[in-house]
C-alpha cells in the first residue's frame, strides 16, 4: 500500500488510521507515528484527516442506565418461557398411515441400505504412531498415538457428521452449509463449524483447544455447555464434572509437528505423555522429580532422541527396559 499517494479522503477510509485516532490499536499507533517521522510529502493530508476524524468522533455516546440490559433480558426470557409452555401440535392420524405405506414400499430398499451403508469404520493409531484419516466429507483428522476414531462409512449428503474419539486428535473440519459436525469423546460432545482444533481425552480429562473457527462444547447437562473462541481451551474433568474455559496453550497441537512445547510444564505431565502416547511405564527413583517444572521444546519424532534430551533437561539418567517397556528415571547422569 502506497500511503505516500493517499489523499485526505483515502486516509479517512483507512481502517488503521481510524484505529490509530481511536487509540484502539498500539500497532497502528506505532506504524503511523513512524510513518509521520519520515516526513512524507502528504503529511498535511494525513493531519487534515486525523483532525477531521477527531471531530467526527467527538459525538457524545449514549449508554443505557446500568442494569437496563439485565432487567430487559429477564422480561424477554419470561415471555419466551410462556410461549414455550404451549403444547406441541399433534401429528394428524393420516400422517401415520402415509408413513406406514412409505415404510412398506421402501422395505426392500431398506435392507440394501442397512447392509451397505450402516457399517462403521474404526481407525486405531498404535503407541508411538500417528495416523492421518480422511473422512467421507473430506475433513482430515490426525490421530495421535494410542488413539482411535470411529465413524460411519457413509455419510448422507448434508446429513449429520459424527465421529467418536478416544485419545487425542487434531481436526480440520470441512465447512458444510447446514450440516453440523460432532465429535463425541464419551465425556464431551463437541459441535463444530468449519474449524481446526485439538481434542485430548486422557485419564478422565478431556481438553479441547480451538485454533480457528468456532465450536460448542457440551458435557451433557444444560448448564454444562460452552461456546469457544479461537485461542481458548476448555477442560472437562469427568470425576468432578467440572467444565472450565481459559486462554489456551498454543502448543496444544504441537504433537502434529512431532514436538511438545513446555511452558512451566511439570515432569509429571511429561511422564503422562510418555505413558499415554508411547506406552511406557515410567518409574521415578526419586518422586520429587515429578514436581519439577521445565521450559523448552521436546522433539517427539525419535524416542531415543527424546529420552536423551529429556535426561539432559532434567539432569537425570533414564534406563530403558525394553522387555516390559519400563523407563526408570534416576537423579544425576
Amino acid at each position: 500500500m502506497d500511503y505516500h499517494l493517499y489523499t485526505k479522503n483515502d486516509f479517512l477510509e483507512d481502517a488503521s488510521v481510524r484505529a490509530y485516532v481511536k487509540g484502539e490499536d498500539p500497532a497502528a499507533a506505532r506504524f503511523w507515528e513512524q510513518w509521520l517521522a519520515q516526513q512524507p510529502p502528504n503529511s498535511d493530508a494525513f493531519r487534515d484527516a486525523t483532525f477531521l476524524l477527531r471531530h467526527l468522533l467527538s459525538g457524545e455516546r449514549i449508554h443505557a442506565q446500568p442494569g437496563t440490559a439485565e432487567t430487559l433480558w429477564q422480561h424477554i426470557t419470561a415471555a419466551i418461557d410462556t410461549t414455550e409452555a404451549t403444547p406441541v401440535r399433534r401429528i394428524r392420524p393420516w400422517w401415520w398411515a402415509a408413513a406406514a405405506i412409505a415404510l412398506l414400499l421402501t422395505g426392500s430398499g431398506l435392507a440394501y441400505y442397512l447392509l451397505h451403508y450402516t457399517g462403521t469404520q474404526t481407525i486405531y493409531a498404535a503407541y508411538g504412531k500417528k495416523e492421518r484419516v480422511t473422512l467421507p466429507d473430506a475433513s482430515v483428522v490426525t490421530l495421535n498415538a494410542n488413539s482411535s476414531l470411529r465413524y460411519a462409512k457413509h455419510w448422507g449428503h448434508n446429513g449429520p457428521r459424527e465421529v467418536w474419539l478416544s485419545g487425542e486428535a487434531y481436526f480440520e473440519v470441512q465447512h458444510q452449509n447446514g450440516g453440523g459436525f460432532r465429535v463425541h469423546t464419551g465425556q464431551l460432545d463437541i459441535e463444530v463449524l468449519g474449524t481446526a482444533f485439538n481434542v485430548k481425552q486422557r485419564r478422565g480429562i478431556t481438553t479441547v483447544f480451538l485454533e480457528k473457527g468456532a465450536v460448542k462444547v457440551d458435557a451433557g447437562t444444560p448448564d454444562k455447555s460452552l461456546v469457544m473462541k479461537p485461542g481458548e481451551e476448555v477442560q472437562y474433568r469427568q470425576q468432578e464434572e467440572l467444565l472450565t474455559k481459559y486462554p489456551g496453550d498454543a502448543g496444544a497441537a504441537a504433537w502434529m509437528d512431532n514436538k511438545m512445547i513446555l511452558h512451566n510444564t511439570s515432569v509429571k505431565e511429561i511422564v503422562q505423555v510418555l505413558e499415554d502416547t508411547y506406552g511406557y511405564k515410567v518409574m521415578l527413583s526419586d518422586t520429587s522429580i515429578a514436581n519439577r517444572r521445565i521450559n523448552g521444546e521436546l522433539p517427539l519424532k525419535n524416542t531415543q532422541t527424546l529420552l536423551y534430551i529429556l535426561s539432559n533437561m532434567l539432569d537425570v539418567s533414564i534406563e530403558v527396559n525394553k522387555a516390559d517397556s519400563t523407563l526408570l528415571f534416576k537423579p544425576g547422569q
Binding site: 467526527l56 459525538g59 440490559a69 419466551i80 410461549t83
Partner: protein, 198 residues
C-alpha cells in the same frame, strides 16, 4: 473483520437451532449497539427498550423461519428500525413518516470529547464543530454508522434503506460541507503546529 464476526455468527447458528444461551449471548453482545442506535433514531428511551424486548421475543418465536446471518448486527439494526416504526404506527402516532423520510438523528458533537479536548481552543476546531452540528440528520446518521460503528457502505445502505450509490453520495456530501472549513484555516493550522513544535 471476519474473525471478529465469527463468534456472533456462530451464536446465531446455535440460536436458530433452539439454543437459548446463544440468544442470550447475542443479546448481551448487541444490546449496547441497538440501544444507542435506537435512542439516536428516536429519543424516547422507554419506547426503544420496548422495541428491543419485542425484537428478541419475536426472534425466538420465529427462529424456525429465519436464516443464517453472516452479519447479525446488520440484521438486528434493520429489524430494530422496523420495530420502532411499527411501534409508533401501533401507538396511533399520526406524525409517523416512513423511515426513509424521518427527520431526526441525535448526534451532538462536543468540544469536551477526549478526542479534541486539546484543540478545542482553536478557531478552526470551533468552526468544524459548528459545521458538524449543522449536518442533516441523514448525514449525521451515515457519519455515525461509518465512524462509530465502523460499518461498510453496503451494510450502511441496507440499514438506512438506500442504495449503496446513494450512501456514497450522502457521505460525500456530508464531507463536502466540512471541506471549506478545513481548507480555509489550513494556514492557521500549520502556524499552530509550527508554534507547538518550537
Amino acid at each position: 473483520m471476519n474473525d471478529l464476526a465469527a463468534e456472533p455468527v456462530t451464536w446465531w447458528k446455535f440460536f436458530l437451532e433452539g439454543d437459548k444461551d446463544a440468544l442470550s449471548a447475542l443479546y448481551r453482545f448487541y444490546f449496547p449497539v441497538l440501544y444507542e442506535y435506537g435512542v439516536r433514531l428516536h429519543q424516547q428511551e422507554e419506547l426503544i427498550k420496548d422495541c428491543i424486548q419485542d425484537l428478541f421475543i419475536k426472534l425466538w418465536t420465529n427462529r424456525r423461519n429465519l436464516q443464517a446471518a453472516h452479519d447479525p448486527r446488520r440484521y438486528l439494526l434493520i429489524a430494530l428500525r422496523g420495530a420502532i416504526y411499527n411501534k409508533l404506527k401501533q401507538a396511533g402516532n399520526r406524525k409517523v413518516v416512513p423511515y426513509e423520510q424521518h427527520h431526526d438523528f441525535r448526534l451532538t458533537f462536543s468540544a469536551e470529547s477526549a478526542y479534541i479536548k486539546k484543540e478545542s481552543a482553536s478557531l478552526q476546531s470551533q468552526q468544524l464543530l459548528n459545521a458538524l452540528e449543522k449536518m442533516s440528520p441523514r448525514q449525521k446518521e451515515i457519519i455515525y454508522l461509518r465512524f462509530y460503528e465502523e460499518m461498510e457502505y453496503e451494510d450502511i445502505s441496507a440499514v438506512m434503506g438506500i442504495t449503496v450509490k446513494a450512501a456514497y453520495k450522502l457521505y460525500a456530501r456530508a464531507l463536502e460541507t466540512l471541506k471549506d472549513i478545513l481548507h480555509i484555516s489550513l494556514p492557521a493550522l500549520l502556524l499552530l503546529l509550527s508554534q507547538h513544535k518550537s
